[in-house]
């Protein structure tokens, strides 16, 4: 029986963890299987959660979030017969599969979309916890914005420096209102559960927002420009499907293998014109083909299009 552990923020964060949850659910529906799940409440529980699931015979054990990296490094050797999969982090152990995403690519696309939709020439980015991973989102986004409109202003804010930043909708809403006051009329939230507040505030204030990880367009129909899809669901689904035969190693998911993308559905159809979509799709093709390379912040901790 496979198991999944959701990071702080919880499986119904409408975003990152929920994507993972959806993947697990899809597997359960398709196969009729059952799985164990666990939500983290605080930092100190991670190790116990991993050990408990492994000890109870769960296999594979999938976890979402970079924060598991350290404890997984410690726990994995103690359970050589159990397979683990971790999203967003590379853990170099023989029984661990590490899934990482090219979030900068997806963010680039929604950045373009933001710049195309913006009337003020100012767009916003609200990240969750201030870590290189989230800067990678922001950097990709800024590159996309600048690619469309080199004069555009990108207002960047991070919600916090601790995992609490993943689940602070109040702060998300206040930051969104602050960015609006600075002229932003499209805001990209890459902040897990905090994004709920961002999207809500943007809808309240009558500006556009961009969701992240899951398709969040439905949350405020007609007010969410698009969502940067990060197919954590696919990662979880795949891991569950592979089951006990999970292949260890690093799995990079990008535009080319549908690991990231942007969301189009009836909720945002009215917001995205055909020209906009065409421009974005063209860029996507270039990225897939390697013709266009989006700078990855985490490769050298710098960003050509924005300063953090």
């Amino acid at each position: 029986e496979p198991a999944i552990i959701f990071d702080l923020g919880g499986k119904f964060d409408k975003s990152f963890n929920e994507a993972a949850f959806n993947g697990a659910e899809r597997w359960a529906q398709e196969t009729g299987g059952t799985y164990k799940e666990l939500e983290m409440q605080d930092e100190a529980q991670r190790e116990q959660a991993l050990r408990r699931l492994a000890e109870a015979g769960a296999n594979p054990v999938v976890m979402t979030g970079f924060a598991f990296g350290d404890v997984l490094n410690k726990v994995a050797p103690d359970f050589p017969n159990t397979k683990f999969a971790i999203v967003d982090m590379v853990v170099d152990q023989p029984n661990v599969k590490s899934v990482v995403f090219n979030e900068h690519e997806g963010s680039y696309l929604v950045g373009m979309m933001a710049a195309l939709a913006s009337k003020s020439g100012t767009v916003g980015f609200i990240g969750g916890m201030d870590i290189p991973l989230i800067r990678k989102f922001g950097c990709g986004y800024a590159q996309g914005v600048k690619a469309v409109n080199p004069d555009a202003t990108v207002v960047l804010n991070m919600t916090g420096t601790t995992p609490a930043a993943w689940n602070d909708p109040v702060k998300g809403a206040e930051l969104a209102k602050g960015q609006k006051a600075q002229g932003a009329d499209v805001i990209y939230a890459a902040a897990g559960g905090t994004g709920v507040g961002v999207l809500q505030a943007a809808a309240d204030e009558g500006i556009l927002s961009i969701g992240v990880d899951s398709n969040q367009n439905y949350m405020h129909p007609g007010k969410v420009l698009t969502s940067m899809l990060k197919r954590v669901d696919n990662a979880v689904y795949e891991a569950f499907k592979e089951g006990e035969n999970l292949t260890a190693g690093i799995n990079v998911m990008g535009l080319a293998n549908d690991g990231v993308g942007y969301a189009m559905d009836e909720n945002n159809a009215s917001l995205v014109t055909a020209e906009m979509q065409a421009a974005v799709d063209a860029a996507a093709e270039k990225i897939k083909s390697g013709e266009l390379v989006v700078h990855d912040y985490m490769s050298d901790n710098t960003c050509p299009a924005a300063t953090f």
């Binding site: 919880g10 804010n157 909708p169 930051l175 602050g178 809500q200």
Partner: protein, 322 residues
Amino acid sequence: MDYATLLQILDSSLRLATPLLFACLAGLYSERAGIFDIGLEGKMLMAAMASASVAFLTGSVWAGLFAGMLASLMLAGIHGIASITFRGNQLISGVALNFVASGITVLVAQRLFGQGGRTPPLEGDARFTPIILPLAEELRGVPVLGPLYAEVISGHPLLVYVALLAVPVTWWVLYRTRFGLRLRAVGENPAAVDTAGISVKGLRFAAVAITGILCGLAGAYMATALQAGFGREMTAGRGYIALAALIFAKWRPVAALWACLLFGFFQALALRPDVVEAVVQVKVPVPFLDALPYVLTVLVLAGFVGKAIPPRAGGEPYVKER
């Protein structure tokens, strides 16, 4: 910092000060009557959960508001029974109820909605929406004051104005009515009230009930106005900040307003470290901004910023003696 940024921060301060203000006034009634209440946090949380749940289920924010007050009243009732009827330790009772609320809100929300202790997002009539005050747009052009009026004063949900109104009302009740006189007396010397032929228990229960109602408003504001729904631990220590503000204000209603606005301002600043950095020219770590209200309260308690003398009978259960 430009004027627009200032306005934006002030606007944000007011929004963030509102739950503090409700909770602070709530604590004021209770503590003025001699019942310490560190369970403001729990009551807010309970109210937030109840109001969001009911607002979602009925689609009416008013039903939600009512449910929030009811839930908060329930906890207040338990606190009253423990500390008034059974003369238990008020501090311990408050601590205990905070824990109970912290857990039970998640259990109930999980049971109702199965979303890991959240309520689904509220929409439309299930939320309080901003009210544009008369002439806000027309006056926007007036220099300095116009934008202040339009941005900061106008455009908040009803409950913000209710909270502001609650300050003069509280002052008036406390200092101009019979109930207020008795309330203040029972917090200072319950024996005086008792020998004057007034029920100490009755008064204290009344005070605790008002505390419940105001905490209910605080929680409902959090869940149905500031945000659109309930999430676990969403009050995030605001009950304690309100308590700090109450001490900072030395248990006086008008001072409570300023204290809450100040602490709201700190919270708003903590959201905008970039602005703080721009103003003071050094990078101030966010944790320092977060800790500011607590540090200030300690300084007040220490008597460095004026001595805070709590109501004299506060925390002591009233036992009839000759």
